[in-house]
Protein backbone atom coordinates (compact mmCIF):
# COMPACT_ATOMS: atom_id res chain seq x y z
CA UNK A 1 0.00 0.00 0.00
CA UNK A 2 1.16 3.51 -0.75
CA UNK A 3 -0.91 6.39 0.56
CA UNK A 4 -0.59 9.77 -1.18
CA UNK A 5 -2.13 12.75 0.58
CA UNK A 6 -4.36 15.27 -1.17
CA UNK A 7 -2.75 18.64 -2.09
CA UNK A 8 -4.95 20.44 0.45
CA UNK A 9 -6.67 19.61 3.74
CA UNK A 10 -10.24 20.59 4.53
CA UNK A 11 -11.01 22.95 7.42
CA UNK A 12 -14.54 22.76 8.82
CA UNK A 13 -15.97 25.36 11.21
CA UNK A 14 -19.11 24.18 13.03
CA UNK A 15 -21.54 26.87 14.26
CA UNK A 16 -24.61 26.72 16.47
CA UNK A 17 -26.96 29.71 16.65
CA UNK A 18 -29.22 30.92 19.44
CA UNK A 19 -32.15 28.99 17.91
CA UNK A 20 -30.23 25.72 18.13
CA UNK A 21 -29.55 25.32 14.42
CA UNK A 22 -26.24 24.11 13.02
CA UNK A 23 -24.21 25.50 10.12
CA UNK A 24 -20.78 24.65 8.71
CA UNK A 25 -18.15 26.64 6.81
CA UNK A 26 -15.61 24.77 4.69
CA UNK A 27 -12.15 25.88 3.50
CA UNK A 28 -9.23 24.22 1.73
CA UNK A 29 -6.05 24.80 3.74
CA UNK A 30 -2.45 23.79 3.12
CA UNK A 31 -1.41 20.16 3.48
CA UNK A 32 0.86 21.19 6.37
CA UNK A 33 -2.07 22.63 8.34
CA UNK A 34 -3.12 19.56 10.34
CA UNK A 35 -3.68 21.07 13.80
CA UNK A 36 -7.11 22.69 14.27
CA UNK A 37 -5.70 24.75 17.14
CA UNK A 38 -2.70 26.28 15.40
CA UNK A 39 -1.52 27.98 12.21
CA UNK A 40 -3.97 28.69 9.41
CA UNK A 41 -6.95 26.79 10.92
CA UNK A 42 -6.64 28.76 14.16
CA UNK A 43 -6.26 32.11 12.38
CA UNK A 44 -9.33 31.53 10.19
CA UNK A 45 -11.50 30.13 13.00
CA UNK A 46 -10.59 32.96 15.43
CA UNK A 47 -11.34 35.60 12.78
CA UNK A 48 -14.65 33.96 11.81
CA UNK A 49 -15.78 33.66 15.43
CA UNK A 50 -15.06 37.38 15.96
CA UNK A 51 -17.60 38.48 13.32
CA UNK A 52 -20.39 35.96 13.91
CA UNK A 53 -23.09 35.96 16.58
CA UNK A 54 -23.34 32.17 16.36
CA UNK A 55 -21.19 29.96 18.56
CA UNK A 56 -18.19 28.34 16.85
CA UNK A 57 -18.32 25.14 18.91
CA UNK A 58 -15.87 22.98 16.93
CA UNK A 59 -12.93 23.42 14.56
CA UNK A 60 -12.11 20.32 12.49
CA UNK A 61 -9.35 19.51 9.99
CA UNK A 62 -9.78 16.61 7.54
CA UNK A 63 -6.64 15.04 6.06
CA UNK A 64 -7.28 12.72 3.10
CA UNK A 65 -5.13 10.29 1.14
CA UNK A 66 -5.61 7.83 -1.71
CA UNK A 67 -4.08 4.38 -2.06
CA UNK A 68 -2.04 4.30 -5.27
CA UNK A 69 -1.81 0.48 -5.26
CA UNK A 70 -5.00 -0.88 -3.64
CA UNK A 71 -4.87 -4.29 -5.27
CA UNK A 72 -7.89 -6.24 -6.51
CA UNK A 73 -10.89 -7.17 -4.35
CA UNK A 74 -11.78 -10.87 -4.34
CA UNK A 75 -15.02 -12.77 -4.57
CA UNK A 76 -16.54 -14.81 -1.78
CA UNK A 77 -19.87 -15.83 -0.21
CA UNK A 78 -19.94 -12.70 2.01
CA UNK A 79 -18.15 -10.25 -0.29
CA UNK A 80 -20.89 -7.63 -0.09
CA UNK A 81 -20.90 -4.39 1.93
CA UNK A 82 -24.20 -5.40 3.54
CA UNK A 83 -22.52 -8.50 5.01
CA UNK A 84 -20.49 -7.32 7.99
CA UNK A 85 -18.25 -8.78 10.64
CA UNK A 86 -19.25 -6.83 13.77
CA UNK A 87 -16.68 -6.68 16.57
CA UNK A 88 -17.55 -5.36 20.07
CA UNK A 89 -14.62 -4.37 22.28
CA UNK A 90 -14.23 -3.50 25.96
CA UNK A 91 -12.55 -0.25 27.01
CA UNK A 92 -11.15 1.28 30.19
CA UNK A 93 -13.65 4.16 30.05
CA UNK A 94 -16.62 1.82 30.32
CA UNK A 95 -17.73 2.14 26.71
CA UNK A 96 -18.12 -0.69 24.20
CA UNK A 97 -16.62 0.47 20.90
CA UNK A 98 -17.82 -1.34 17.79
CA UNK A 99 -15.91 -2.06 14.59
CA UNK A 100 -17.93 -3.21 11.58
CA UNK A 101 -16.07 -4.58 8.55
CA UNK A 102 -17.94 -5.22 5.31
CA UNK A 103 -17.32 -8.06 2.88
CA UNK A 104 -15.69 -10.34 5.48
CA UNK A 105 -13.57 -13.28 4.42
CA UNK A 106 -15.47 -16.51 5.08
CA UNK A 107 -12.36 -18.01 6.71
CA UNK A 108 -12.92 -15.96 9.86
CA UNK A 109 -16.33 -17.42 10.72
CA UNK A 110 -16.89 -20.76 12.39
CA UNK A 111 -18.82 -23.78 11.20
CA UNK A 112 -22.16 -22.09 11.96
CA UNK A 113 -21.23 -19.36 9.39
CA UNK A 114 -22.30 -16.88 12.02
CA UNK A 115 -19.86 -16.63 14.91
CA UNK A 116 -16.44 -15.15 14.27
CA UNK A 117 -13.70 -17.60 15.28
CA UNK A 118 -11.58 -15.89 17.97
CA UNK A 119 -8.73 -18.35 17.33
CA UNK A 120 -8.42 -17.34 13.66
CA UNK A 121 -5.01 -15.75 13.04
CA UNK A 122 -6.41 -12.68 11.26
CA UNK A 123 -8.92 -12.10 14.06
CA UNK A 124 -6.17 -12.42 16.69
CA UNK A 125 -4.06 -9.90 14.78
CA UNK A 126 -6.99 -7.46 14.48
CA UNK A 127 -7.73 -7.62 18.21
CA UNK A 128 -4.05 -7.09 19.01
CA UNK A 129 -3.86 -4.09 16.66
CA UNK A 130 -6.98 -2.54 18.19
CA UNK A 131 -5.74 -3.11 21.76
CA UNK A 132 -2.36 -1.56 20.98
CA UNK A 133 -3.16 1.27 18.57
CA UNK A 134 -6.85 2.23 18.72
CA UNK A 135 -8.76 4.30 21.26
CA UNK A 136 -12.38 5.00 22.06
CA UNK A 137 -14.00 8.20 20.74
CA UNK A 138 -13.14 9.93 24.03
CA UNK A 139 -9.52 8.72 23.99
CA UNK A 140 -9.88 5.73 26.34
CA UNK A 141 -7.85 2.55 25.87
CA UNK A 142 -9.34 -0.57 24.29
CA UNK A 143 -8.78 -3.60 26.52
CA UNK A 144 -10.14 -6.64 24.67
CA UNK A 145 -12.75 -8.32 22.49
CA UNK A 146 -16.17 -9.05 23.98
CA UNK A 147 -17.85 -10.71 21.02
CA UNK A 148 -17.78 -10.84 17.24
CA UNK A 149 -20.24 -12.21 14.73
CA UNK A 150 -21.30 -11.89 11.15
CA UNK A 151 -24.38 -9.79 10.44
CA UNK A 152 -26.55 -10.91 7.56
CA UNK A 153 -27.99 -8.31 5.21
CA UNK A 154 -31.76 -7.71 5.55
CA UNK A 155 -33.88 -10.16 3.55
CA UNK A 156 -36.19 -8.99 0.82
CA UNK A 157 -39.82 -9.72 1.45
CA UNK A 158 -41.47 -12.19 -0.95
CA UNK A 159 -43.21 -10.46 -3.83
Amino acid sequence: MSWVTDPTNQLLLHFLDDAGKHATMSFNVGSGDTDPGAGGPSAISDAAAAISESALYETEVLIRASNTAPGTPTQGPYARPADKAAFVFSANDGTRPRLEIGGPNEDIVGTDSWTVDPTNAAVIALVAAMNTHATTASGGGITGLIKAQRRRPPRRKGQ
Binding site: A55, L62, P104
Partner: protein, 154 residues
Protein backbone atom coordinates in the same frame (compact mmCIF):
# COMPACT_ATOMS: atom_id res chain seq x y z
CA UNK B 1 -2.55 19.66 19.07
CA UNK B 2 -6.15 18.54 18.67
CA UNK B 3 -7.91 17.87 21.95
CA UNK B 4 -10.07 14.99 20.73
CA UNK B 5 -9.11 11.49 19.57
CA UNK B 6 -8.44 11.38 15.83
CA UNK B 7 -11.24 9.72 13.88
CA UNK B 8 -10.02 7.54 10.99
CA UNK B 9 -12.41 6.58 8.22
CA UNK B 10 -11.19 4.06 5.61
CA UNK B 11 -13.14 3.52 2.40
CA UNK B 12 -13.09 0.03 0.90
CA UNK B 13 -14.19 -1.21 -2.53
CA UNK B 14 -15.68 -4.68 -2.93
CA UNK B 15 -15.51 -7.14 -5.82
CA UNK B 16 -18.90 -5.76 -6.97
CA UNK B 17 -17.53 -2.19 -7.13
CA UNK B 18 -19.64 -1.10 -4.17
CA UNK B 19 -17.91 0.89 -1.44
CA UNK B 20 -18.24 0.88 2.34
CA UNK B 21 -16.37 2.59 5.17
CA UNK B 22 -14.77 1.37 8.38
CA UNK B 23 -14.33 3.90 11.23
CA UNK B 24 -12.05 3.73 14.25
CA UNK B 25 -10.23 6.17 16.56
CA UNK B 26 -6.54 6.69 17.38
CA UNK B 27 -4.71 8.95 19.80
CA UNK B 28 -4.99 12.76 19.49
CA UNK B 29 -2.23 14.33 17.43
CA UNK B 30 -2.00 11.50 14.92
CA UNK B 31 -2.63 13.28 11.62
CA UNK B 32 -0.50 11.33 9.11
CA UNK B 33 -2.32 8.66 7.06
CA UNK B 34 0.98 6.75 6.91
CA UNK B 35 1.34 6.78 10.72
CA UNK B 36 2.40 3.39 12.09
CA UNK B 37 -0.61 2.97 14.38
CA UNK B 38 -3.07 3.83 11.63
CA UNK B 39 -1.43 1.49 9.15
CA UNK B 40 -1.20 -1.34 11.68
CA UNK B 41 -4.98 -1.26 12.12
CA UNK B 42 -5.63 -0.90 8.39
CA UNK B 43 -3.37 -3.87 7.66
CA UNK B 44 -5.24 -5.97 10.22
CA UNK B 45 -8.61 -4.98 8.73
CA UNK B 46 -7.35 -5.81 5.22
CA UNK B 47 -6.77 -9.39 6.37
CA UNK B 48 -10.38 -9.65 7.57
CA UNK B 49 -12.17 -8.41 4.44
CA UNK B 50 -12.19 -9.39 0.79
CA UNK B 51 -12.46 -5.71 -0.18
CA UNK B 52 -9.48 -3.37 -0.74
CA UNK B 53 -8.76 -0.03 0.92
CA UNK B 54 -8.86 2.86 -1.55
CA UNK B 55 -9.14 6.10 0.51
CA UNK B 56 -8.48 7.19 4.03
CA UNK B 57 -9.61 10.28 5.94
CA UNK B 58 -8.32 11.48 9.31
CA UNK B 59 -10.29 14.04 11.35
CA UNK B 60 -8.53 16.17 13.97
CA UNK B 61 -10.96 18.17 16.06
CA UNK B 62 -10.92 20.90 18.72
CA UNK B 63 -14.11 21.64 20.66
CA UNK B 64 -14.77 25.16 22.00
CA UNK B 65 -16.84 26.01 25.05
CA UNK B 66 -18.81 28.99 23.75
CA UNK B 67 -22.43 30.11 23.55
CA UNK B 68 -24.28 31.98 20.83
CA UNK B 69 -25.43 35.57 21.35
CA UNK B 70 -28.85 35.51 23.00
CA UNK B 71 -31.58 37.11 20.90
CA UNK B 72 -29.26 37.48 17.91
CA UNK B 73 -30.73 39.43 15.01
CA UNK B 74 -29.17 37.17 12.39
CA UNK B 75 -29.27 33.39 12.85
CA UNK B 76 -27.49 30.64 10.91
CA UNK B 77 -29.81 30.88 7.91
CA UNK B 78 -28.54 34.46 7.48
CA UNK B 79 -25.17 34.45 5.75
CA UNK B 80 -22.40 36.96 5.27
CA UNK B 81 -21.22 36.11 1.76
CA UNK B 82 -17.66 36.87 0.65
CA UNK B 83 -16.61 36.14 -2.93
CA UNK B 84 -12.90 35.40 -3.37
CA UNK B 85 -11.19 35.10 -6.77
CA UNK B 86 -8.94 32.14 -7.60
CA UNK B 87 -7.09 30.89 -10.70
CA UNK B 88 -10.00 28.59 -11.61
CA UNK B 89 -12.85 30.98 -10.78
CA UNK B 90 -14.77 32.45 -7.86
CA UNK B 91 -15.08 30.95 -4.38
CA UNK B 92 -17.92 32.09 -2.11
CA UNK B 93 -17.60 31.67 1.64
CA UNK B 94 -20.79 32.02 3.65
CA UNK B 95 -20.43 33.04 7.29
CA UNK B 96 -23.48 32.02 9.36
CA UNK B 97 -25.10 34.52 11.72
CA UNK B 98 -23.06 37.65 10.83
CA UNK B 99 -22.71 40.27 13.55
CA UNK B 100 -25.12 43.10 12.61
CA UNK B 101 -22.63 45.72 13.79
CA UNK B 102 -20.60 45.01 10.63
CA UNK B 103 -23.59 45.26 8.26
CA UNK B 104 -24.33 48.65 6.71
CA UNK B 105 -27.23 50.45 8.43
CA UNK B 106 -28.06 52.12 5.12
CA UNK B 107 -29.01 49.06 3.09
CA UNK B 108 -28.74 46.23 5.72
CA UNK B 109 -26.76 44.25 3.15
CA UNK B 110 -23.29 45.63 2.46
CA UNK B 111 -20.43 44.46 4.70
CA UNK B 112 -17.21 46.48 4.57
CA UNK B 113 -14.36 43.96 4.30
CA UNK B 114 -11.57 46.50 3.84
CA UNK B 115 -10.70 46.92 7.52
CA UNK B 116 -11.49 45.97 11.11
CA UNK B 117 -12.55 42.51 12.21
CA UNK B 118 -14.09 41.71 8.83
CA UNK B 119 -10.88 42.80 7.12
CA UNK B 120 -8.97 40.47 9.46
CA UNK B 121 -11.26 37.58 8.49
CA UNK B 122 -10.89 37.98 4.73
CA UNK B 123 -7.15 38.53 5.14
CA UNK B 124 -6.82 35.29 7.14
CA UNK B 125 -8.79 33.37 4.53
CA UNK B 126 -6.72 34.84 1.69
CA UNK B 127 -3.49 33.94 3.48
CA UNK B 128 -4.29 30.43 4.70
CA UNK B 129 -7.04 29.06 2.42
CA UNK B 130 -6.70 27.87 -1.19
CA UNK B 131 -8.80 26.40 -3.95
CA UNK B 132 -9.05 22.59 -4.12
CA UNK B 133 -5.86 22.35 -6.20
CA UNK B 134 -3.81 24.59 -3.91
CA UNK B 135 -4.23 27.78 -5.97
CA UNK B 136 -4.06 31.16 -4.23
CA UNK B 137 -7.32 33.06 -3.69
CA UNK B 138 -7.68 36.85 -3.46
CA UNK B 139 -9.74 38.64 -0.77
CA UNK B 140 -12.68 40.88 -1.69
CA UNK B 141 -13.16 44.43 -0.37
CA UNK B 142 -16.76 43.90 0.63
CA UNK B 143 -19.26 41.20 1.45
CA UNK B 144 -23.01 40.95 1.38
CA UNK B 145 -25.57 39.77 3.87
CA UNK B 146 -28.03 37.31 2.37
CA UNK B 147 -31.24 37.06 4.35
CA UNK B 148 -32.74 33.81 5.57
CA UNK B 149 -35.34 32.26 3.28
CA UNK B 150 -38.93 33.00 4.12
CA UNK B 151 -41.51 30.19 4.13
CA UNK B 152 -43.77 30.22 1.05
CA UNK B 153 -47.42 30.96 1.73
CA UNK B 154 -49.80 28.16 0.78
Amino acid sequence: MAAEATRVKVTYRTFYDIEFTVTFYVAPGIVDPNNGSVQAIVTAINAITRAVAIRIELSASNPHSVTATAGAIYVNEDKGEFVFQGPAGAHTFKLPGPDPSFVSSTDNETIDASSGAVGDFVAAVAEFAFDANGGVITAPTEGRRRAARKALKK
